[in-house]
Symmetry: C2
Subunit: 473 residues, 2 copies
Amino acid sequence: MTLQSALSASYTDLYQITMGQVYFQSGHHNDRAVFDYFFRKLPYGGGYALFAGLGDLLQILEGLRFTEEDLDFLRRNKFAPEYVDYLRDWRFRGTIYAAREGDVVFPTAPVVRVEGGILDAQLIEALLLNLLNFQTLVATKAARIRSVAGDAILMDFGLRRAQGLGGLHATRACLVGGFNSTSNVTAAMQFGVPAAGTMAHSLIQSFGDELTAFRYFAECRPDDCVLLVDTYSTLESGVPNAITVAREMEARGHRLVAIRLDSGDLAYLAKRARAMLDSAGLSYVRIAASNQLDEYVIKSLIDQEAPIDIYGVGTSLVTGKPDAALDGVYKLSYFQETPRIKLSESLSKTTLPGIKQVHRAFNGDNLFAGADVVALADEQKIPGMSHPFEAGKSMSLQTYRLEPLLHKVMEDGRMIEEPVPLDQIASYARERLALLPPEYKRFEFPHVYKVGLSPGLAKLREHMRTELKQAMT
Amino acid sequence: MTLQSALSASYTDLYQITMGQVYFQSGHHNDRAVFDYFFRKLPYGGGYALFAGLGDLLQILEGLRFTEEDLDFLRRNKFAPEYVDYLRDWRFRGTIYAAREGDVVFPTAPVVRVEGGILDAQLIEALLLNLLNFQTLVATKAARIRSVAGDAILMDFGLRRAQGLGGLHATRACLVGGFNSTSNVTAAMQFGVPAAGTMAHSLIQSFGDELTAFRYFAECRPDDCVLLVDTYSTLESGVPNAITVAREMEARGHRLVAIRLDSGDLAYLAKRARAMLDSAGLSYVRIAASNQLDEYVIKSLIDQEAPIDIYGVGTSLVTGKPDAALDGVYKLSYFQETPRIKLSESLSKTTLPGIKQVHRAFNGDNLFAGADVVALADEQKIPGMSHPFEAGKSMSLQTYRLEPLLHKVMEDGRMIEEPVPLDQIASYARERLALLPPEYKRFEFPHVYKVGLSPGLAKLREHMRTELKQAMT
C-alpha cells in the first residue's frame, strides 16, 4: 500500500471535471488534443532545472480511476448523470512524450507533451502539475547541493519541516538530485535507499549524563553508531565522551562510525573535533554536520576546508527554499487537427502552438552546447533558431549535433517500458549534469542556456498571432 | 479510504526508532516522559500564528501501527528481534494536552504537551512536527489573507503548485484560517466544503471563439456558471461576450454567477468590468480575481477599491510563502519524575524544564491582553511574569484574568472527545482572532505579544542551569 495508490481521479481541480462535461456534452471529448508542460522561470536564480516526478506521474496515471465516492460527490454537485456514468469507466488513455526523468531542462521548452482525447488530457492537468512542479523544484535544489558537496554523503533530514505528506515526494526528488539517504523510514522503504539517522538531544537529556547515553547507544547500534556531541558542550564534553566510547567499542571489536555536530560554528568545531579524533587514533571516525544547511552554507564550509564527511540537510531542501514552488504550466497547443495559441500582451506569455519536439545541441566535445531548440515535431531540418521573445536575435545550429529530448513514455494510458528504478534515474541525472558546462552551474549570475524557436515554429506562431489579431479587430 | 489512513508508524525519522531501541533495551521505555511542542519564530514577520493540524494528528495517532513490511525493514536494518517484536503490538498510549485547534498562539510557549512512556512520546516526534508545523504555517497565511479580505469569498486554488500530497493538508489549513472553498476535489470531499472552479483558457482555445465556448459552458453549468474573460482581451472580448451570454441565460431563467479575471491590472480591469456589467443591468454578476495573489496584493486591491467579490489564491497560500516552513520543535522537559533541560550558549535556545501549562491574560474588556505566561502545571498563583530571555524585564499580571490554553485531548492514546468538525474549528479561529487587538494583526511591525515565565518556572530554569553548569566544570 503506497500513499499514491490511495489517490483517486478526484485529486484534481474541479474545473478540469467541469470542462470535461462541456467537452462531453458537446460531443468533443474524444477530439485529439495536445498539451505542453513547461515552466517559465528557473528556480533559485540558477542556470538549470533537474526534471523529476515523471515516474510517479506515470504510475499514478495507469491506475487512476474515479471511486464511487467521487461519483456520488459529482452527482450531488449537479454534474450531468450521463457524464458521471461516463466517468465511472474512465481511465486515462492518452499518449505521453517526455524528457527523461533526471535530464537537465530549461524554461520555455516543453518538458512533457500529452496527447489524447481532450477530456483525458484535461483531467490530468492538476495532478501532473502537482507532481512535476514540486519534484523538479526539489531535485534541482538537491543537485545544487550535490554540485558543491563533492563526494560527501548527503542525507535528507527534512521530514519534520516538510509540507505534510509532500515530504515523501520531496525525498524521492532529493534522491534523483544526488542525495544518498533519508531519515524518513517510510520513504527509505518505498525508494529502496538507506534510512539515516542517529539520536536526538532528548536521548542524552533522558539519561542525564552524556557518557552513559553514548554507552547505551553504542551497545544497541554497534555497527552504525553515530553520536550527537553538542548537547552540553561539543568540545569539552561531547567529543571527549565520544572518544571514550569509541575506544570501548574498539575493545569490543567495533568501530564508531561518526560524530554529529548540530549547532555552533560548524567549520571551527569540525576542525577541532577532527584534530581531537585524530590525536586519539580515531581517524576513521567521520564527522557529520547538520543545522540549517543549504547549498550556500555547505559551499562556505567546503571553502573553509571544514573536515565534514556527511551533511544532513532539512528544511531548505524539502521545501525548495526560497522558491517553494516551480511555476510550471500546462497549455493547449493543438486541437482538432489545428494548432492552438493563447495570446497575451507580452510575447513571453503567448503560448507556442503546434505539436512540438525539443532538440538539444551538442558540441564537438559531446557536451551540451548551451542551446535547446523547440521545433515542430515533423520539422526535418533545423539549421538555426531564433530568440523566442526578442526579435532579430538568432543563432546558427549548423555545427552542432541535435538530439531529441522528448521520448514516448506512455501510449493508450500504459507505460511503454517498466518504471525506471530510482537509482538509475539518479545515475542519469549525474551523467546529464556532467555534460552541462560549469558556467551554467554556478550560483551567481549563471550563464543563460539559450532556448530558441526553429524556423517552422517561429513562422507558425507569427502567422497565428497575425491572424488572431486581425480576427479581433 | 483517506490518504492519512495509508500512513504507518514508519512515517517517522529513523532516529526515533533507534532511540526507542536504546530505551527498550535499557528497560526505560515505559518511564514517563514529557515533551513540549513549540516554535521560536512567528511566520511572515507577523504578530501571531494560528494553530492547526491537531485534528489530523490525533486521528492518525489513534490508528498508528507498524505494518509487517515496516517490521521486516527494521529486522533487515539490524534492529534487535525482541524490540521489533515489541513494535509489532505497539500503539501510541500517551496523553496529550494541547491548545485548541484554531487558537492564536505565540513563540516560546508550548502549544502541545505530550506525556507518556518515553518510547511512545519519542516515536511520534517527526509525525507531530510534520503535521503541526505545516498546517500552522498555512492556517496563519490564510488568516492573514482573511484579515484583509473582509467578507469576500476566498478560494484555495493551490493544488497545482502545492508540495505534492501536502496540497491536502494545505487545503485543510486554509479552511481553518478562514477560506471558503477549494479547487481540489479530493480535499473538498474530505473536508466537506464546496469545490470551487470554473474553466481554463484551454476551453476557450479549444472552441476557438470565446462566445461559443461561453455558450457551451453556460448550458452545462446553468446554476454555477463563472466565465473566464481574459483569454483574448478582457475588456474588448471577454466581458462583452460574458454579457451576451448572461442575457441569454436570463432569457432561460438562469443567472450568470461571476466573471473571472486572471491577468493584467486587476484593479483597473475589475472597475471597468464592474461598470460594463452594471450598465448592462447585470449588477448581480460578481467579479472573481486570481493570479499570484497574496495578503499584500489583496490589501492593495481593496485599498484601491477594486470591486472584487471573490479571490482565488494559490501558490503563496499553500506553500506558506515566503517562509515555507514553521520552525516548530519538540523538546524533552521531564523524565523519570525529574525536570529536564537542554542548555545552549544562547538562553533563547535553552529549553524550558518541567511539566508546564500556558495561561493567557484577558483584560477588562475580555480581549487578549497581550500576555501569555508559561507556568509549571501545578503552579497555583501567578502574580506576574518575567521576560524569558532578557534579565530584569517583568510584568504584573494582577489585574488580568488568566485562562489556561492547554487542554487534555488524548488519554492512553484515545481521543477524549469526538473529532471537532472543521467548520467548528474555523469558527473558533474566527472568535479567537476577534479577541486579538488589531495592533498584533497589522503586517508592518506588528506589536509583539509578550510571552513570559511564571515565578516558579523562572526559578526552576535558573536552578537547573546553575546546577548543570557547575556539574560540567
